[in-house]
Every structure is written in structure tokens, then in C-alpha cells.
Amino acid sequence: MDYTKQIQEIASKLFAEEKIDIFIGYRQNAFDDNQVPILVTVPADVPNLIFTDKSVLNLTNYLKFEHTRNKRVGIVVKGCDSRALNMLLTESQVKRENLYVIGINCTGVLNEKGEKAQNCLECVMPDAVVYDEMIGTPSGKKEYSVNVDVKELAAKGLVERGEYFQEIFENCIRCNACRHSCPLCYCTKCCIDQESAVLYNGSNTPSSAFHALMTWSLHLAGRCVDCRNCEKACPSHLPLHLLHKQNEMVIYENFQQHLAGMEKDDRGAFYKYSMKDPDDFIM
């Protein structure tokens, strides 16, 4: 998967036609094979743009920052990123008319070890769902499969599972990088940081990490698109996807196979209901 040429062409065309003020894409890191985001504002920077299977980050995160507010933005999105963009559009965080979206029909990105990333192996929608221009051949929607780590953990006993998560919460340093790197966490002040939330107010203990991560994952349930920006940002390398994938699994299995950001104007699983929703757990 190497779409560098196409993206550079499109970007220079957009700048030439003065359709955009800023173009968000990937750039090769100078010293290793990782890629970092680049916010191109002048056409001279266009040759730095690149897209290969190492373009892992979800760039829609940049749409919430001051650099892109009220500007016409060109952006590169993969399948999962486009779902996040769909969520942002539905939740009125960005204006569609300000965006020029280049949708990539993704064939999966690589992780640090050079293997195909796990979320790409389980990806349901590798094609972009929102786009103005499409690159690559669409491969269509794929079968949903439960995350292997979730499956593995769910098979364990309650106490064992509890101990595993205890380690996660003990290793959390409460830097909130997961939240800041999440494209869907756009609140100007998070509810757990409110001055009135005196139960936990920035301390770093396992219980406070539990509080923050659980609240965070439940506020993202039904909205998370599994781009794993949070996991890439975590300085402690915590497997944060476990929480999100567990929620996604429950939602998919119980609520008419709902997946976040797949359709336009779908606000997430918690914003609709069905008479057929399971009721057997309620007395």
C-alpha cells in the first residue's frame, strides 16, 4: 500500500485551486521508519507527504485543535479514521463543507514489529465511509470477529481477570494522553477534571486510574471506532483496547450489530433503542 504519489497530486491540486488552507497528512520521520503527522500550509511542503502501510495514526484528532478550527482542511483518512470523522460530523464537531476528505481504502497498517496490526486483522470496514476522493480499490465490509485478547480474558476466571486489570490500573500514570489523543474526546473540559468532581481530582492511585479509565471507556462506548490512537499514545503501553473492544462486543452482539461511525447521522449505540434489546438481566 503506497499512495504517496496520488496524495501529493491531490494536495498540490487542492492548493493550486485554493480549495484548502491546510492539509493534514503523514510525513516520514527523519531517523526511523515511523511516520508522523504533518500539517501542510504552503504548497512547498507537499513533497513531504507520504502514505504507506506505516501511516498508523488517526489524523482526525487534529480537527479539534486551534490550528484547524474554521479553516478549510484537506485530510487523509483510512477506513477507521473515516468512521471517526463520521462520528465527528454527526456530533457537529466539524463542518463537512470545510473538509476535503481523501479516503483511503486501506489494506491494513503495520505495527512496530512490522507485522500487520491487530486491529487491522479484525477490521470490519477497511474502506473509507466518508470521502470526496477515493484512493485504492474498495474491498467491502468484512465479517465482525470478537477481539482475541477479549476472548482470551473472558475465558479466565473472575479473580484472575481482576488481577490482570489491577496491573493495568496500577501502571497507569494518569497523564491523560489517551484522552488527548482520542479524536472523539473533544470536550473542552473533561467531566473527570471538573473542579466539582471532588471524588477524584488528579491524584494518581490505582483507584483513581480505575475511575478515570472506566468513565472514559464508558463515555466512548458505542462511539469508539478502534483506531487505537490511545494505545499508541500511552507511555505505559497499557492495553487500553481491551476496555473498548469489550464494550464494542457487547454492543455488537446485543444491539442489532451496531458499529460506531458506519453510517451518516448515526450518533452511537446509546442514542437509539430497540424494543428487542435484551431485558433478561433486569429483574
Partner: protein, 163 residues
């Protein structure tokens, strides 16, 4: 010999943390979050019709069961509560037409997630109790109390202030 057996028999072992044992006279604290229009009225009826139910429950009234943010459940479990009971109107009876349908979805996900990270699923329970179901409310509270007594005290991720 006899007394020794009795003692161990009477003790309650925490389901999440087998190392923690509570004395036999330990009483759980249950947080009850009730919707204003059905369950709260139902609990009122239980009282006025003089039906006994366990005193372990501490009741909070909310306008609708969909007012309950999963955050409330997490907060209760991190403070004094050993279990949470949330009760609302029967499906279709919601004062706000569809509030409890939305709530139902959230509850399922919250319950499963808490179970996933190591809480016993009986710690978080839900019920539909209408304003006319006084006896049902007593039954529900009795059942939840019974369940949580079996699970033992909750020590997971408690706020440090309480230690």
C-alpha cells in the same frame, strides 16, 4: 470444635478477592438509585403497606432511570457501596416515553464491562418496579441483599479516604 466450625462457616469471603474475609455479622451497603415516577413511588408503597425489606439499601431518587450515568455506578462502587441496584419504570411505562429504553442499553454495557474488569455481575443489578408493585420492590431488595451478602465485602479500587 463445634464453635470453630461455626465461625468459619459464618464468615463471608469476598468474591473478587478471596483473601478478604468479613465477620459473620457483616452487613452490606447497597446503593439504590430509583426513578422518581415508578420505583421511588413503589418503594413508598412498600413502606406505607408495611412490608418489611432489608435496611441495607440507601436510596437516591433520580428523575428517570436514563438519568443514571455509568459514572454514578462507578462512583458508588468506589465509595461505600458493596453493590448497586438501579430501578426504573417497566418498558413502555416511562414518564418520558422512552428514557428507560436508552437506560437499558447503557446498563447492559456497564454491567458487562464491570464484570470484565473483575467485579462479580451480581454487584450491579437492575429492576423494573412500577408504582403499584410494593411487594415486588421488597422482594427485589431482599434478593439483591441476599446476593451481595453471599459475595462478601467489596474492596476493589475503593477511595483511599475510606481506608
Amino acid at each position: 470444635m463445634e464453635t470453630e466450625v461455626k465461625e468459619t462457616k459464618g464468615q463471608v469471603v469476598s468474591a473478587e478477592n478471596p483473601g478478604i474475609v468479613a465477620p459473620a455479622d457483616w452487613q452490606p451497603v447497597i446503593m439504590g438509585i430509583l426513578c422518581n415516577w415508578c420505583s421511588y413511588a413503589g418503594s413508598d408503597l412498600t413502606g406505607t403497606s408495611r412490608i418489611q425489606y432489608p435496611p441495607n439499601i440507601r436510596i437516591i431518587r433520580v428523575p428517570c432511570s436514563s438519568r443514571v450515568d455509568p459514572w454514578f455506578i462507578i462512583k458508588s462502587l468506589q465509595t461505600s457501596a458493596d453493590g448497586v441496584l438501579i430501578s426504573g419504570c417497566h418498558p413502555g411505562d416511562c414518564h418520558y416515553i422512552s428514557g428507560n429504553y436508552y437506560a437499558r442499553r447503557r446498563f447492559l454495557v456497564t454491567k458487562k464491562l464491570l464484570n470484565f474488569v473483575g467485579y462479580h455481575e451480581n454487584r450491579i443489578q437492575f429492576s423494573w418496579v412500577s408504582a403499584a408493585e410494593g411487594p415486588k420492590f421488597a422482594k427485589v431488595v431482599a434478593k439483591v441483599t441476599e446476593d451481595i451478602k453471599k459475595l462478601g465485602p467489596l474492596h476493589k479500587y475503593k477511595k483511599e479516604n475510606l481506608k
